[in-house]
């Protein structure tokens, strides 16, 4: 089929104060239809108050197999966590 509709990723904000979260994907000819389909497919039970649709082809994803080198720079910096530091009990709430 030459006329396959492209794939879109759907992100929904569940309620005020929360970020948009990826909920799934769908096929649609254009952004407008992707939006309408996303509403019909992913928000039939008040799951959302705002929808983003993004063409899947426009998403750049990190490779899980490169997880090691990718996230290594943060692994060895344990001092970034507050628990790294021993604060004497005498010093109250910090």
């Amino acid at each position: 089929m030459a006329n396959d509709w492209p794939l879109w990723e759907v992100f929904i904000r569940g309620q005020y104060g929360l970020s948009h979260r990826h909920v799934g994907s769908l096929h649609a000819p254009d952004a407008e239809m992707a939006m309408l389909n996303a509403r019909d497919v992913y928000t039939r039970r008040n799951e959302g108050m705002s929808i983003w649709v993004v063409k899947s082809a426009d998403v750049t994803a990190s490779a899980p197999s490169r997880k090691g080198p990718m996230f290594d720079p943060s692994n060895d910096k344990t001092y970034r966590h507050p628990t790294f530091f021993d604060i004497p009990d005498d010093v109250e709430s910090m």
Binding site: N3, D4, G24, L26, H27, P29, V41, P64
Partner: protein
């Protein structure tokens, strides 16, 4: 089960020390309860089995709209009509979640749909039975969705992330399906003698096909050991069937109906219900394409697909025209 595994995968579970490094690392992750994601390395057999199972599951959701869609315009009240319409719309959504999950494994939706339309791909045997009257809408929601829920609840724990997430969404919607069906049954069984008889008749016809949904008995089915090791399959066919019978028997009693199986009773020793096997010869005939509605179902899907082609193409042409105009 919506994907009735009958054919052997032909795969034997290898012990950890005979696996390649990649296979072993993969199995260790699964054993630890980690989810596998689309871009992760996976054995070919895992990918192939998942594609088959998820797409069969998706096809079942899509074809499953037909027996109920048939009754939308014939519902007895406007409220029942709105409810049934919402239920059938959910099933279309389920088909989409599952096709999306399958697509993450590198297959195209168009190919999956072509396989359904050509008859190459399978869907659950249950949808090749007819829905003859309104009581069947009750029995389908209650028994067919009820049986599907048993399976789908377990599959939330499947090892493949996108499949598991689709199951979580689906399970949230399924209890509405089962409840609206049971509600129809309660209404019918508290009605006139004729209405009660319709409810009993629907149970009589759909009980055995519902048991068949879980697939053939463990003893003479499949080597599902590999699927279980990969957590593609979470319980055996017989375990699912037993669970379904155990949860449904008290409901049958509550409705004041009789299960069409004189051997079905609670076994005080096991705490489970004993029951008889459905007619497995019939099951295999339905799978081969010789059920009461196989031909009808495929024809209906093909007509819908063909008649919708101009619309799908038209929307795409319009999208392209606007893109050019914007450039």
């Amino acid at each position: 089960m919506y994907a009735q595994e009958v054919k052997s995968t032909g795969l034997v579970v290898k012990p950890l020390d005979e696996m390649s490094d990649e296979e072993r690392a993969f199995q260790v992750r699964i054993d630890a309860g980690e989810k596998i994601e689309p871009k992760d390395w996976m054995p070919d057999g895992y990918r192939k089995n998942l594609v088959r199972q998820i797409s069969q599951h998706g096809h079942s959701e899509v074809v499953g709209q037909l027996p109920e869609g048939n009754w939308i315009t014939r519902a007895p009240t406007l409220e029942r009509k709105a409810i049934l319409l919402a239920k059938v719309q959910d099933e279309a959504g389920h088909g989409l979640y599952l096709y999306s999950a399958a697509e993450t494994l590198g297959v195209s939706r168009a190919d999956l749909i072509d396989d359904l339309l050509s008859g190459k791909a399978k869907y659950s045997s249950i949808f090749n039975y007819p829905t003859l009257n309104w009581a069947d809408m009750g029995a389908v929601g209650w028994l067919v969705d009820g049986a599907a829920i048993v399976n789908q609840v377990a599959l939330q724990r499947t090892s493949y992330g996108p499949y598991s997430r689709a199951m979580v969404r689906i399970c949230k919607e399924e209890s509405f399906h089962a409840r609206q069906g049971f509600d129809i049954m309660m209404k019918m069984t508290s009605g006139t003698a004729a209405q009660k008889a319709m409810a009993q008749d629907a149970l009589n016809r759909l009980w055995w096909p519902a048991l068949m949904m879980f697939g053939p008995p463990d003893a003479d089915s499949v080597h599902s050991a590999q699927s279980m090791a990969w957590k593609i399959k979470i319980m055996t066919n017989d375990e699912g069937r037993q669970k379904f019978v155990d949860q449904t028997m008290p409901q049958i009693e509550y409705l004041g109906l009789e299960v069409p199986d004189s051997t079905a009773k609670l076994n005080p020793e096991t705490g489970h219900y004993d029951f008889s096997d459905p007619d497995w010869a019939e099951f295999f005939e339905v799978l081969k394409g010789n059920g009461p509605c196989n031909v009808d179902r495929l024809r209906a899907r093909n007509i819908a697909h063909d008649k919708g082609a101009w619309f799908r193409d038209g929307l795409m042409a319009y999208a392209e025209k606007r893109k050019i105009a914007a450039e």
